[in-house]
């Protein structure tokens, strides 16, 4: 039987890798890829807490489904923004998108 700690350590590691990607990638699409990794780490946590807690309480799985929906919306809006910026300014490097930087 797998102890709960293995899932928690795996998801902490996946979250940290995603955090590194978000902080250090230059390309805006690659930053969104890092966010996907972090959301998946959160989902592993939610589902493993459901399994190791009281399985008749479905809140863990339901929340994981809500995270799916939020991830899909976030990707749709984020990629639309990236494509729109690319059309106007011809760049997807996050540092060069500085219209609102004073």
């Amino acid at each position: 039987m797998i102890p709960l700690s293995w899932y928690l350590i795996l998801s902490a590691a996946l979250f940290s890798i995603g955090l590194f990607g978000v902080l250090s990638r230059r390309n805006a699409v690659a930053i969104l890829l890092g966010i996907e990794l972090m959301l998946n780490a959160v989902n592993i946590n939610l589902v493993s807490f459901w399994r190791y807690g009281d399985v008749s309480m479905m809140a863990g799985q339901v929340f994981a489904i809500i995270v799916f929906a939020v991830a899909a919306s976030e990707v749709a809006v984020g990629l639309a923004l990236v494509i729109s910026v690319y059309r106007r300014r011809n760049t997807v490097i996050a540092d060069e998108i500085d219209l609102m930087k004073w």
């Binding site: 955090l19 990638r25 230059r26 489904i65 991830a71």
Partner: protein
């Protein structure tokens, strides 16, 4: 070491290795393909955790829709992206330290918790997890309100995405 543990360890190694490739590879199309490997590994974990519905949803929604959307976006924004200059910020080593510290902090916090190495109880006999999930999603005493709000959010986000990416002639 049991069979499930071996499968878990292989899956974990695949997930972490491909996640590292996602954040470090130069070619973004390859990064998106490595993301598919990571997502598939997470689906295997859901299957190990007896969350069969979520495993299927992970494959269909994440790999089938989100990863493909990423590949489309990368190909649409690719012209000069063919990897001019470095792919990482100048201070990436600092970010690596922050990530390692985050992991260390989470690990330190978790290993002091009493339920850390808890084992899973067996399912009650005849327990139907997928049926319970379906009932919880639509019952008024369960999660019908968050479920409907999520669907409205998805609709609004998709309409917004079309509006933002639309080109006026």
């Amino acid at each position: 070491m049991t069979f499930t543990q071996i499968i878990f360890l292989i899956t974990a190694a695949v997930i972490l290795g491909s996640a590292l490739m996602v954040v470090s590879t130069r070619n973004l199309v390859h990064a998106a393909l490595w993301l598919i490997v990571t997502l598939f590994g997470v689906a295997v974990l859901y299957a190990i955790l007896n969350a069969s519905f979520l495993a299927v949803v992970q494959v269909v929604v994440y790999i089938g829709a989100i990863a493909i959307l990423f590949i489309f976006a990368i190909m649409l924004t690719r012209r000069e992206m063919l990897d001019r200059g470095p792919q990482l910020n100048r201070g990436w080593w600092l970010n690596a330290i922050i990530a390692v510290l985050t992991f260390g902090g989470l690990f330190w916090m978790l290993q002091g918790w009493s339920g850390f190495s808890k084992a899973a109880a067996d399912f009650p006999s005849g327990y139907d997890a997928v049926g319970q999930l379906g009932k919880a999603l639509v019952s008024p005493t369960g999660f019908v309100l968050p479920f409907e709000v999520a669907s409205v959010l998805l609709l609004a986000a998709l309409v917004g995405a079309v509006y933002v990416a639309f080109t006026r002639k």
